[in-house]
Amino acid sequence: MRIMIVEDDIAIGFSLRIALEDRGHEVQVYEDPTAIAYDAVHADIILLDYYMPKMDGEAVLQHIRRSPTLRAVRVILMSASPQLAQRAKELHVEHMAKPFDLSTLYAYIEAMP
């Protein structure tokens, strides 16, 4: 599966990448959401950090929703704040609270939507 990770924390991005690559997924990590050419990216699933400097998760989501290539892609919002689950519901995306078990991550990603 092609997985796109948008996460400003290098350590988190890196650790998730190795964990997912070990499962055989193709992973691309983006630290700076403003630098992504959304239309050029192809992915099956997007892991999106909510709190980021420069551009927050909701703004990134807007870009994804307008991108012809990413419009229909599943988005999982990640944040350390459990309150965000509600907001995620309003935005029609799934939510994972940090820190999480890799088993949870795998379950999210590998379960069919």
Binding site: D9, A11, I12, F14, S15, L16, I18, A19, D22, Y51, M52, P53, K54, D56, R65, A80, S81, K98, P99, F100, D101, L102
Partner: protein, 1133 residues
């Protein structure tokens, strides 16, 4: 449920629809008809949707707006709703407001666009549009929420959009949209009206002809130049014009020439206003009839007049009736205006057929009584017996008219001498129809001509009179005497006639002094021609005197004084009665003067018959005697009489006046304010009329009880009670809200009018300037002015007096009366003078707001127009109010501070937990990944995995650092931080930290320029290094990659300076102090979501302070920041 049934239940919406249908009726053009019909349909459809919607949704709250939807009655099931939507008469669809996805569509829309339902619902709204411009516009309007985020249930017209069907057909549609909740989403329902379809609406002409035929007035349409294009049947019937003639009608020939200029005038103004007026219009038989004519211009989209629509209603009949009625009324008014003459009509038999006001005045009968009665009632019984009334009528009928001067009888039986003219009336055809009678009362004229004659003629009557009567000639000799006179005075008629009356009966005064003719008022009448009345003494034949009351009336004839009639009567009995009364009155005087109530008696002429000293005192006069010498009217001018509610009582409303009208007035409270002294006395006043034998009011007794003392003590009690209530209300106000600014505004408005005409509240800010929280003026127009004062007199915190003085000393300032001198000494320029004079300052009171010993602000109270003055009592009261207000402000501020602290703590906790969770997330992921790999030894790559472990350790260090920061801040907060101070050289310490940081942050160049390497300081090494590390990592965090960070030291004046300079974006001046406070995060850090808890610089500055040093920042925004640690240098050994 059918469409019709649902329609039947839509009462409110029905009305709306009916309104649109009415528009259809009155529309004049095809387009207007079509448009009105469309709107009616669209609204009906949207209303039905809304109704159905309400039944499904109970209660929902969206975002920050409270959009409540009530649970409606069960009017339709969801299936009904669906059917309704699907079968609706217009193309319609629903789209998601966030994503623009199409969520539902009805059959009409599918038919219009040519898509299948699946195809349609797979698209977004924008895919329906014809071009990119419209797509962008729609997206922009949706995202900007223009017309798409209104309150649920409101319709918005969105204008015309260009759509394209599946088969590439272009169809412009006008859209109406309404926000709804659909499938749990925010959505909009859109109803489209294809523009081309409009043309298929019923033709206006089809509607027009049947209507025109049944309207009961003439209607027509015309070109703007007046050429008639259509007229209904009634036009042809009325004007008699043919179809061809109508087409070329010349309005000048149809409208009456006198009305035509008005017609032309209105016609010229058609561009500006509708034409409406009354005109005479020529009928086929040549007669003009009055019509109301209305002409309305019909305009195209550009607003140009394309057509005229006119109507004409025949009002001729009403107009004539009105004129006739007016003429009758005029005549009646005219007749009624004639008061001197009785003018009335008699029918053929002499019965009264009309009556005027003059007739009523002269004859005493009113119209209602006399109408229909025979006019013989105006004649004496003798005349009637002789058949005089009938004879007069016969004569008038025979000769055309009859006139005479003769006696007639009034309603009350008295006679009057009348001049009478009776005229026979005939109609145009010469038929006799009745009589007009004009009568004038000439009694006085008649009497003046012939008093003596009358006297002699009426001798019998005079002889019977109870008074003595003498008739005198011009010389005063007796021509006539009646028996009463001879009996009263003892002189026989023979002895009297021809004698000089004065010499016979009036020769000497009561005291025996000679009474000359020239001094006698009775004889004076013969000289002056003026009637005289009075009391005199007449001498009897036997030599005794008799008191008489007399009237002496001149007799005029042919313009000359011919003599006089003297009428007199014996009043000796009355005289002695009066003496007795006088005696008892003086006794009563003694009794009444001892009474505390004021008592007066006033006669009809306004003379005081009696007054006691108490009355004089209440009314502000010295004594009763003083009062008795004056007329009551004069006394009244000395004081104002004021009612209980403070209103001045007009003289005609005074109780005495009422009593003269026969009314008994009891216990009315009023105040007498003596004009000269301003002294007020309250009284309870009663007045009672005393009647004479004829039941006329003879005089009035007034009784005044002075209640000034009781009233004043009551007022004081009332005032105390009012102020207590006022305080209680203010206290309630203060307790009702913790928003102290709002509360103070409430307090300020409560001060008006109880305690001030103008009130301001100023609060002292931390920078010692003042902030005006509230200004209230009795006259709202003057609030501006009150603010202008602040600008004109800028606040000077060093001023000795005024607001500044009060705020400095905490003592109230109290100016009972603001004098002109005070103003002169204060104002500095004309602007100030102008403002002050406009405010008309009168009295001033400023009290401080003091809470927990601290001066928080001041309450300024000013009296202006009301002219009231502050007293010591007001000062105490205002201070009381201010104390309560200050306490409330203080409490509110404490509350606000505690709330802010709580919010700050919560925010900090949330940030701290985020900061802690971030490294935990990655460490957990690393470790779990490693764990998984350990399950597959064949893939185990030691080099790689070591790298992962190092990364994990780094994250754990990051966690440790955060936890240390948290521990530090807890220790600082609790004051339990412990330091291990040792003396050491500064240079190596700084150099080591810089070196370590260079390794950690290869992304930046950290340059080190150290002077005085051996300079010694007393530091806690660990803590100091922590500070330095923190400052350098901040510099790294906030400056661009690759930039230089300079760390330098130098010593000066026994101090060591360690500076860390970066090339980042800098810190705005207003934030430079704040960054050292606990939990503070710069706006930049917050908005760009840079991680951090806002405690690093706080901890650092606390540490440095513990070192007896300082931590400062110097920065210009955009040009980097320099943090400087200053430490005291320890003397070299």
């Amino acid at each position: 449920m059918s469409f019709g049934v649902i329609m039947g239940r839509l009462t409110k919406n029905q009305i709306k629809i009916l309104g649109y249908l009415r528009e259809v009726e009155s529309a004049a053009t095809t387009d207007q008809v079509a448009k009105a019909l469309d709107i009616a349909w669209q609204t009906a459809q949207l209303n039905l949707l809304a109704l159905a919607q309400q039944n499904k949704i109970k209660f929902e709250k969206i975002g920050r707006q409270n959009l409540f939807m009530r649970k409606g009655q069960k009017l339709s099931t969801p299936d009904d709703y669906k059917t309704l939507f699907d079968e609706g008469p217009q193309p319609s669809w629903i789209f998601d407001r966030e994503t623009l996805e199409l969520l539902a569509v009805n059959r009409h829309a599918l038919g219009l666009f040519g898509y299948s339902r699946e195809e349609f619902l797979g698209m977004r709204f924008t895919d329906l549009l014809e071009n990119d411009h419209d797509r962008e516009l729609l997206e922009m309007r949706v995202y900007r929420k223009q017309g798409f985020n209104e309150v649920v249930g409101q319709y918005r017209t969105l204008g015309i959009w260009k759509f394209m069907t599946k088969s590439d057909r272009h169809i412009p549609c006008e859209l109406v949209a309404r926000p709804i909740h659909f499938q749990g989403r925010l959505a909009n329902v859109v109803v489209a009206q294809p523009i081309e379809k409009r043309k298929e609406a019923p033709s206006a002409l089809e509607l027009r002809y049947p209507l025109a035929a049944v309207v009961p007035s003439i209607i027509w349409t015309a070109k703007p130049d007046g050429t008639i294009t259509f007229a209904n049947q009634l036009w042809y019937e009325y004007t008699g014009l043919s179809y061809e003639m109508t087409k070329h009608v010349n309005w000048k020939e149809v409208v009456h020439e006198e009305d035509f200029s008005k017609w032309e005038h209105l016609w010229k103004q058609l561009e500006l206003k509708n034409f409406e007026g009354e005109f005479r219009i020529l009928r086929v038989d040549g007669v003009y009839h009055w019509h109301i004519v209305r002409i309305i211009p019909v305009r195209n989209e550009k607003g140009e007049i394309t057509m005229l629509a006119g109507s004409m209603i025949d009002i001729h009949k009403y107009r004539l009736e009105e004129e006739l009625h007016q003429a009758e009324t005029n005549l009646r008014v005219l007749l009624d205006a004639v008061k001197e003459y009785a003018i009335f009509m008699l029918d053929r038999d002499g019965n009264v057929a009309s009556w005027n006001k003059g007739a009523e005045r002269i004859k005493g009968w009113n119209e209602e009584e006399i109408m229909g009665k025979n006019y013989a009632i105006f004649f004496s019984a003798a005349d009637r017996a002789q058949g005089k009334p009938e004879k007069i009528l016969q004569a008038a009928k025979a000769n055309g008219s009859f006139s005479e001067e003769a006696w007639r009888v009034r309603k009350d039986g008295t006679n009057f001498f009348a001049e009478v003219i009776v005229t026979a009336m005939r109609n145009k055809e010469g038929d006799f129809i009745g009589y007009a009678k004009v009568t004038r009362d000439i009694t006085e004229k008649k009497l003046n001509e012939s008093v003596l004659k009358q006297l002699m003629q009426n001798r019998l009557i005079l002889d019977a009179a109870g008074e003595g009567i003498y008739g005198l000639d011009a010389d005063g000799r007796v021509l006539f005497v009646n028996p009463t006179a001879t009996k009263l005075l003892g002189w026989t008629e023979q002895e009297t006639l021809g004698q000089h009356m004065h010499e016979l009966t009036h020769y000497s005064t009561e005291e025996g002094m000679p009474y000359s003719v020239s001094a006698c008022p009775i004889q004076g009448t013969l000289k002056t021609g003026v009637e005289m009345r009075g009391e005199e003494m007449f001498w009897k034949k036997n030599g005794s005197a008799v008191p008489v009351e007399y009237t002496s009336t001149p007799i005029m004839g042919n313009g000359e004084l011919q003599g006089a009639v003297v009428v007199f009567r014996d009043i000796s009995e009355r005289k002695s009665a009066e003496e007795k009364i006088e005696q008892s009155r003086s006794q009563l005087n003694v009794i009444l003067s001892g009474i505390k109530d004021g008592i007066t008696a006033v006669d009809v002429h306004g003379n005081f018959i009696y007054a006691n000293d108490a009355a004089a005192k209440i009314l502000g006069l010295n004594s009763a005697k003083d009062m008795m010498e004056k007329k009551s009217g004069e006394v009244l001018t000395y004081f104002d009489v004021i009612g209980e509610n403070g209103e001045i009582i007009a003289p005609q409303d005074l109780v005495t006046r009422k009593a003269f009208k026969g009314e008994i007035v009891q216990d009315v409270r009023m105040q007498f304010r003596v004009k000269a002294t301003g002294e007020c006395r309250w009284s309870v006043v009663s007045a009672q009329p005393v009647f004479d034998k004829q039941k006329h009011v003879d005089f009035v007794i007034n009784i005044f009880r002075d209640i000034t003392f009781e009233k004043n003590s009551q007022d004081k009690l009332n005032e105390q009670e009012r102020r207590l209530r006022f305080l209680a209300e203010i206290s309630a106000d203060l307790a009702s809200s913790i928003d102290y600014q709002k509360t103070l505004k409430n307090i300020a408005s409560r001060m008006i009018p109880e305690l001030a005409d103008w009130c301001a509240i100023d609060m002292l800010r931390e920078d010692e300037e003042v902030e005006r929280i509230a200004v209230v003026h009795m006259d709202p127009k003057k609030i501006e002015l009150a603010y202008a004062v602040q600008d004109a007199f800028p606040y000077d915190k060093n001023a000795r007096t005024g607001l500044a003085g009060v705020l400095r000393t905490g003592k109230p300032e109290f100016v009972p009366l603001i004098t002109k001198e005070m103003i002169d000494s204060t104002v500095m320029n004309e602007l100030q003078r102008e403002i002050v004079s406009k405010l008309s300052l009168h009295s001033l009171l400023i009290v401080p707001l003091i809470g927990r010993g601290k001066i928080l602000g001041a309450l300024t109270l000013v009296m202006t127009e009301s002219g009231r003055m502050y007293t010591e009592k007001d000062v105490a009261f205002a201070q009381d109010v201010a104390r309560r207000a200050a306490m409330a402000v203080d409490n509110a501020r404490l509350y606000q501070e505690s709330q802010q602290a709580l919010a700050l703590r919560d925010e900090f906790l949330s940030i701290a937990s985020h900061e802690l969770k971030t490294p935990v997330t990655s460490v957990k992921a690393f470790l779990q990944a490693l764990e998984q790999r350990m399950g597959k030894p064949e893939q185990f790559d030691f080099r790689k995995n070591k790298e992962y472990m190092q990364l994990s350790i780094k994250q754990v260090d990051r966690l440790g650092a955060i936890i240390n920061d948290l521990l530090d801040i807890t220790r600082i907060n609790n004051g339990k931080m412990q330091y291990d101070f040792r003396i050491t050289s500064i240079g190596p310490v700084v150099a080591e930290v810089v070196e370590r940081m260079s390794v950690s942050f290869p992304s930046h160049v950290i340059a080190c320029k150290l002077q005085d390497l051996t300079a010694r300081v007393k530091i806690d090494l660990l803590r100091f290094e922590q500070v330095l590390t923190n400052l350098i990592s901040n510099a790294v965090k906030y400056s661009p990659t690759g930039s230089v960070i300079d760390v330098s030291t130098h010593s000066e004046h026994g101090k060591i300076f360690i500076a860390i300079k970066d090339q980042g974006s800098g810190i705005p001046e207003e934030e430079q102090k704040l960054i050292f406070t606990r939990y503070y995060r710069t706006r930049e850090a917050v908005t760009s979501k840079v991680s951090g808890m806002g405690i690093g610089l706080y901890i650092s500055s606390q540490f440095i302070e513990a070192h007896n040093g300082t931590l400062d920042v110097h920065s210009v925004q955009g040009k980097g920041a320099t943090f400087v640690i200053t430490l005291p240098r320890v003397g070299d050994k």
